[in-house]
């Protein structure tokens, strides 16, 4: 059986929240340490350094992108390993011949999708840019994260692409994919989370699911981050990783012009996913 299970999403769309839910489910005792979340991150440089037996910091960006899928072939995933978080689009990045994971190695994919109007303000905070800039980035087919020419980042470059192209790339990938809307996970956590656990073949008795959902409530995650700090938060927004975790917050946070621009950029895909007014 293929073992490369993926939690795929656009940045700021609930990926870490799902990792928190799955971590709490795995622990099964209702406790959750946000600085010890399970799960590798797909672009983690140390994985590729180990897999390739070469420092990726000595490789040029095109070489890194070409070698990413090949590294997964060199180190096949272990059976029953925790799903991997990824913000990559299912597209060949510049210099690469194929998407970042070898198709034959991918097991189950859970794609988390969030209304791009709620993604935009969160994206702006995380990357330290204005909301208008965030909206412009989210419309760029060539958008890539994890790049730096001046220094070294802990992640390899990842082709994220525009919100529409990212979403379409996964939906059209032909992979064994379960689609989850962030909004459904908020509104109906139990059945939605059950579907996620099932997709990854994780046993999920209702009482354990309920306690994992409780342990991963946004107010708890936020309080823990304020209290202890969160190592995965960004330098641009230290310890402000977990937002309010609401759906429809864009009505307060975006101007009418900003909301319209997102609708203009991503209208067809948004309508397909039920994001309309």
């Amino acid at each position: 059986m293929s073992g490369l299970n993926l939690i795929a999403s656009y940045p700021r769309s609930g990926n870490t929240w799902v990792r928190a839910l799955l971590t709490a489910l795995m622990r099964g005792d209702g406790s959750l340490n946000i600085n010890a979340l399970e799960g590798p991150i797909a672009s983690d440089r140390s994985f590729f350094d180990d897999a390739l037996e070469v420092e990726t910091s000595d490789l040029l960006p095109d070489e890194q992108r070409r070698l990413r899928p090949l590294a997964h072939r060199a180190v096949p995933p272990q059976k029953r390993s925790f799903p991997i978080k990824t913000h990559d689009a299912w597209l060949p990045a510049p210099g690469a011949a194929e998407p970042p994971f070898p198709r034959e190695a991918v097991g189950a994919v859970v794609l988390i999708i969030r209304d791009p109007r709620d993604v935009a303000p969160s994206f702006a905070t995380y990357y330290g840019v204005t909301v208008d800039e965030a909206i412009a980035w989210m419309a760029r087919p060539e958008l890539s994260i994890g790049n730096s020419t001046q220094g070294l980042r802990p992640q390899l470059p990842q082709l994220v692409s525009s919100w529409t192209a990212h979403t379409a790339s996964w939906l059209d990938s032909g992979l064994n994919l379960t689609r989850v809307r962030y909004e459904d996970l908020l509104a109906a956590p139990l059945p939605t989370f059950t579907a996620i656990a099932r997709a990854f073949g994780q046993s999920a008795p209702p009482d354990l699911l309920a306690s994992a959902i409780d342990a991963s409530r946004f107010d708890r995650l936020q309080a823990a981050e304020t209290r202890e700090g969160f190592r995965e938060s960004s330098p641009e927004a230290p310890n402000r990783f977990f937002g309010a975790g609401t759906a429809g917050g864009w009505r307060q946070r975006l101007t009418a012009a900003q909301a319209n621009r997102i609708l203009r950029d991503h209208g067809p895909m948004m309508r397909d996913l039920g994001y309309e007014d």
């Binding site: 037996e53 090949l70 072939r73 001046q150 802990p154 190592r231 938060s233 330098p235």
Partner: protein, 318 residues
Amino acid sequence: MSAESGGVTASPGGDLFLCGWRVRSDLALPELTPWIGDDREADLTIRIGAIPSRLDDARDVSPLLQVTSQKQARLSIDGVASYWLRSSHEIVVDPQMAADSPDIRTFLFGTVLGLLVHCRGLMPLHASCIRIGGKGVAISGMSGAGKSTLAAALTRRGHALVSDDICVIDTGAAGGPVVRPAFPRVKLWQDSLEAMGLGSDGLEANRFGQRKYYLRFAGAADFHTEPVSLKAVFLLRAQNVALSGQAEIQKLPPMAAVAGLNDQIYRKRTAAIWGREGELFQAIGQIVSAADVYRLSRRTDFSELDSLLRCIEDHVAS
């Protein structure tokens, strides 16, 4: 003088020093210091020559690396060079660009050196090493953790550099584990150079077009060839934010020290194929009993560099 065995001509500028070995090289290796030891035969020859595309009975460890059970290895970096570790005494390099390009040495003094160290029964730790008050201090961690930055900054405070990125440890030395000095050069990204008030003008780039550079320390006081006792290892953890209740430097109990060091064995997958896990585990045990092992959490920016350096010096002195 009689011809050398193996038909390798003398190094262009004479023999060179690397980790205690006498090196004879076809390839110019400007970062190495001259051999000033005894008149032994060369311990290691580096030739320019053709390399078979496939080693006999090789297995692919990665898309870039073949290894054999006889401890041979072939590394291939398209457009740069292929490298053949033929024995513990011989490396063949087949350049695909000008032979004096730093790009070629980047991988020679990276993976190839690491595998040679395994081949010779020593332990390569993913660490830079500094001599502080006569004690060997290794600064270990994954790429980007800040090993070279801290090592370079400590060198600029008057301590001698022992090695960068690969710390060659001999745990069989009488009197406990020692680090064998490599050469006086670190590799630094533009942002690290700037944080130390240095520019990149005139420095060789690690790779063509990359803003990561070779910074060489030329002064005689900056480098000694004698091995140094390993007395402290700092395992770096870089993070974007400080976590509450987390000490900047924390001494690790033996079990955590063993696990932390094991994580930082350089080119671990090939070492396992070569059956070295047992001896490396023993080597780590010897290091843990002779040296203090600390976890050092640092912010990824350079705002606290000076206080961190003083902190390291204080821990080593105490």
